[in-house]
């Protein structure tokens, strides 16, 4: 039985090793080379990254951007998932479709439409100025606020779907029991539904965080060239300055940093007691 299992998993493992693990090792080798031809080995690129405040300020800004985008996404995504889990099945399909619809369009298209919405002549500014909320067009494009807003919307499906999956598997009797025992809706939500849905929340946060920090298209289109985050930094070093080994070093450092954050979130998921099974 064990042997059969091993043989079944072998093709996928081979693909994984060949197309994911091997290139990753090549990237590591490139980052340790002095030049792109990979003749001499050196740690100089890593040293260069950490001795220059410019570089790790970019790393820090990127990690922080991910946190902001994830929190905003959670604030909007959790209620959507909660509503979707409680409505009639027909409405649930409609709501689910609306949530998944963004994924079906290219992220470039979605980001460009945000440029139209947030621009000086955009929908948001026209409404704000029409309502008299502001006399000058709001400056949302090319600011970090704009980037966080757009990231939160673009990555919304990644947050809503895991939470929705966990919520729809919750035993509805638990909520009923809570109500029978006298707890109001808010109390039920806070003390029963929220702790039970935590694994879904953490899974959603992991996905949204990883997607937000690496979202090259959204960060550069909405942020412009003045808001430099890690993806743009890597791109400029690789394609603009042709410094492939340094770009590889930045990529490895970035990957490890994001993995650390994801590992912390993952640990949180393991630590939360598995209420649903009791």
């Amino acid at each position: 039985m064990q042997e059969d299992g091993l043989r079944l998993v072998l093709p996928l493992a081979a693909v994984f090793v060949g197309f994911f693990v091997a290139p990753l090792f090549m990237l590591l080798a490139l980052s340790l080379s002095r030049e792109a031809d990979m003749h001499a080995l050196t740690l100089a690129h890593y040293v260069k990254f950490f001795t220059d405040p410019f570089n790790y300020s970019i790393l820090w800004a990127t990690l922080l951007l991910g946190v902001k985008a994830t929190v905003l996404c959670l604030l909007f995504g959790y209620p959507i998932a909660w509503i979707a889990s409680r409505v009639h099945a027909r409405w649930q399909t409609v709501l689910l479709f609306l949530v998944i619809l963004p994924i079906m369009t290219s992220v470039v298209v979605r980001t460009f439409s945000w440029i139209v919405i947030l621009g000086r002549q955009g929908v948001l500014n026209r409404i704000a100025m029409g309502l008299g909320l502001t006399s000058e067009p709001l400056r949302l494009l090319f600011t970090e606020t704009g980037v966080v807003m757009v990231l939160a919307q673009v990555q919304m499906p990644l947050m809503v779907l895991p939470i929705l999956t966990v919520m729809s598997k919750l035993d509805p009797n638990l909520a009923d029991a809570s109500r029978v025992l006298g707890a109001g809706e808010w109390r039920t939500l806070w003390r029963v539904t929220l702790p039970l849905s935590l694994p879904g929340v953490i899974a959603g946060c992991i996905l949204t965080y990883s997607a937000s920090v690496t979202a090259f298209v959204t960060q550069t289109l909405i942020g412009g060239a003045r808001l430099v985050y890690m993806p743009l930094h890597i791109y400029q070093q690789a394609i603009g300055a042709n410094n492939w080994p340094f770009a590889a070093a930045i990529s490895i450092i970035f990957m490890l940093a994001v993995l650390c954050v994801v590992a912390v979130l993952n640990m949180l998921m393991r630590v939360t007691p598995d209420h649903a099974s009791r």
Binding site: I115, G119, T220, L221, G224, A225, V228, H233, Q236, A241
Partner: protein, 242 residues
């Protein structure tokens, strides 16, 4: 490999400035000051107009990844007294420009969007992109500053050890053919022709009336500039970072 001029009948129709032993120059690009004619009534006649405080927050720039960015920086460097060895005047000018800058596009595609969305009113731009945007009814015009037009050439070469060198030469020669050059000179391609038999028509006549005029347009010393690109890009990114 050296361009075999004997095998290329259209080569001799190029002016000497467009000929080169390694390959002909099939087109050129010119940069100037792009501006929105609906917002700016008088065409800007000098690069210094970008620094005018009246345009605070309305000036655009493009990242140095693109040729346009490097050319703009090199031209400002030259006008402010610098040279290919010394870019300090350019970066000093850039620091002074920053309060005016509304947005910096990360690449030329994002840059075009800035014009379309009217995020910027005045910025360095090149001939081709202005023509393309005008074709899409975006309000933008190109003005050549009094200091003169600057540009660079696009050339084609045959790689050494090419598998089919004769076919490659034929391909390049086709680009020099008058019929091809006049076809690609028309919208929507707007490629500036270098074959002297092809008359200059349309928007390019505002910049040059004849090929002799085109040949006089100042270019840059790319052999000195190119090795510095990486360092320039890094320096630029540090200076502009918010």
């Amino acid at each position: 490999m050296e361009y075999p001029t004997a095998k290329s009948p259209n080569y001799k129709e190029l002016l000497p400035e467009f000929q080169d032993r390694w390959g002909p120059r099939i087109s050129m690009q010119i940069i100037g000051i792009g501006y929105n004619p609906q917002k700016i009534k008088t065409p800007p006649r000098s690069w210094d107009v970008l620094w005018d405080p009246a345009y605070k927050g309305r000036v655009g720039l493009t990242a140095l990844n693109s040729q346009l960015g490097i050319a703009f920086l090199a031209e400002i460097n030259r006008l402010r007294g610098g040279s290919e060895e010394n870019f300090e005047p350019a970066f000093k000018a850039l620091r002074e420009l920053l309060p005016n800058v509304g947005a910096i596009g990360a690449n030329l595609g994002a840059y075009a969007t800035l014009w379309q969305q009217e995020q910027i009113d005045i910025a360095p731009y090149n001939f081709n992109f202005v023509q393309t945007l005008k074709g899409k009814d975006v309000p933008v015009e190109l003005s050549i500053p009094g200091s003169g037009a600057v540009g660079w050439y696009t050339s084609m070469h045959v790689a050494a050890n090419a598998a089919e060198p004769d076919l490659a030469v034929q391909y390049i020669d086709t680009h020099l053919d008058p019929a091809v050059q006049s076809a690609i000179a028309r919208p929507p391609y707007d490629v500036i022709p270098t074959n002297s038999k092809v008359p200059l028509e349309g928007a390019i006549t505002a910049i040059a009336k004849s090929h002799a005029d085109l040949a006089k347009i100042r270019s840059f010393d790319w052999e000195k500039l190119n090795p510095q690109r990486g360092a320039l890009i890094e320096r630029f990114n540090r200076e502009i970072k918010l």
